[in-house]
């Protein structure tokens, strides 16, 4: 086993711990879904395994892995985008309008 991979693994884990701090509850599911799509990186492994010569059995196991990983990646990113569509910044616009008269009132007073 390549020890430098272990170094990379440990450092990336620390980074992962630091990456996520306060997350609003509405984002829990999209964040889970998005990071789940990233764990579909195993699609790279499936592609590489299929590129190696070996037993036919290994090739078909690799093919099954490729299909499943592709579902994970494509479906995962798409569905996360669908969830996040609902977060379109249309809420701030009416708020800004509503707060404008208040601000001008404040200036008058």
């Amino acid at each position: 086993m390549d020890l430098s991979l272990l170094v990379v693994f440990v450092l990336a884990s620390f980074l992962g711990f630091e990456l996520i701090s306060k997350v609003p509850a509405t984002l829990h599911t999209p964040l889970m879904s998005g990071s789940n799509a990233i764990s579909g990186i195993t699609i790279v492994g499936a592609i590489l395994v299929m590129g190696e010569t070996g037993s036919p059995l290994a090739k078909w196991v690799g093919f099954a892995a490729l299909v499943l990983a592709t579902i994970n990646v494509v479906g995962g990113f798409l569905v996360t985008d669908r969830m996040l569509e609902m977060f379109k910044p249309r809420v701030p616009a009416p708020e800004a309008v509503a707060s404008a008269p208040e601000a001008s009132n404040g200036v008058k007073a």
Partner: protein, 295 residues
């Protein structure tokens, strides 16, 4: 691995990091998801280049079939069923990691096989995996398949199916865990002995069945309302499965991305527990209290 593919994996990893960071805030979340998906596209293209396109038909077929199913599931699923869908995708990812590790072991040694293939002889198995390599394969298969079956039990529970637990399920889990350890030890025992490849495949098969059973009995006793936390935890474990597969293949992209998802998934799990004013242990072992209350 060429310089170019390694650099592509580095760019992809950076996009995943920035993407994950942005996914944590409402204003930047959508852009973050798109960054991460761009990173994935770069990683896939790099892998295709590294693959040297030995099986073009199978590759295109696999990507097409998976892509169509993925788009179809993502489009047709109702907004209210999102947690289930995430659980299902998660299970697929875990299964894929386990299968890649299994395929790598079945394939036997990379360099030796290539030499034999180049010399034109036909040999089915030439294993020269050391004990360490076999251990990582076992770990990858174990985590990946526990993620698969656990995710689908969570899927069923989120759909409102009453999947009954049974008394003594914790004891059964413990027995299966012992079986898992035993099969890993047996598998590692075959290291370096080419003549025992059939045995090694048998032990890996046994481990696979036990791992699937373990995922079921671990998630079954947990209450339906706690399923989102369980899915978050299984998401972290699917990341770890990908990282383990990265060690099997010696691929840095899988190791980095898997570690990121594993670690950030654990933090998200903790945050979700805190939001419910529970500890993770309380959620996972909560079944005990429920059993006692029912009895």
């Amino acid at each position: 691995m060429t310089v170019l593919t390694t650099l592509a994996y580095l760019v992809a990893s950076c996009l995943f990091i920035v993407g994950l960071k942005r996914l944590g805030s409402p204003r930047t979340a959508r852009a973050g998801n798109r960054l991460a998906s761009g990173g994935m596209l770069i990683a896939v293209v790099a892998a295709l280049l590294e693959n040297q396109i030995l099986n073009p038909v199978e590759l295109v077929a696999g990507l097409l079939v998976g892509g169509i199913i993925g788009v179809w599931l993502a489009r047709k699923t109702e907004m209210t069923s999102m947690p289930e869908l995430v659980a299902a995708f998660n299970g697929f990812g875990g299964a894929a990691s386990a299968l890649v590790a299994g395929a790598e072991m079945l394939r036997g040694s990379g360099t030796q096989m290539r030499e034999i293939a180049a010399s034109g002889e036909t040999v089915s198995f030439v294993p020269d995996m050391g004990a360490g390599d076999l251990f990582i394969v076992a770990l990858s298969v174990l985590i990946g398949l526990v993620t698969l079956s656990g995710s689908f039990v969570a899927y069923g529970k989120l759909r409102g199916r009453s999947l009954g637990s049974f008394p003594g399920i914790r004891l059964v889990s413990l027995l299966i865990a012992v079986g898992v350890i035993a099969s890993i030890v047996l598998l590692i025992g075959t290291a370096g002995e080419s003549s025992r490849m059939d045995e090694a495949v048998l032990f890996l098969g046994g481990l696979s069945i036990l791992a699937l059973a373990l995922g079921v009995v671990l998630v079954l006793p947990i209450g339906g309302a706690d399923m989102p936390v369980v899915v978050a935890l299984l998401n972290a474990s699917s990341g770890l499965a990908a990282a383990a597969t990265g060690f099997v293949l010696g691929n840095v992209a899988l190791v980095v991305s898997g570690a990121l998802v594993g670690a950030s998934g654990l933090i998200l799990t903790r945050i979700m527990c805190e939001a419910m004013n529970r500890s993770l242990g309380n959620v996972l072992l909560g079944g005990f209290g429920a059993d006692a209350a029912a009895a």
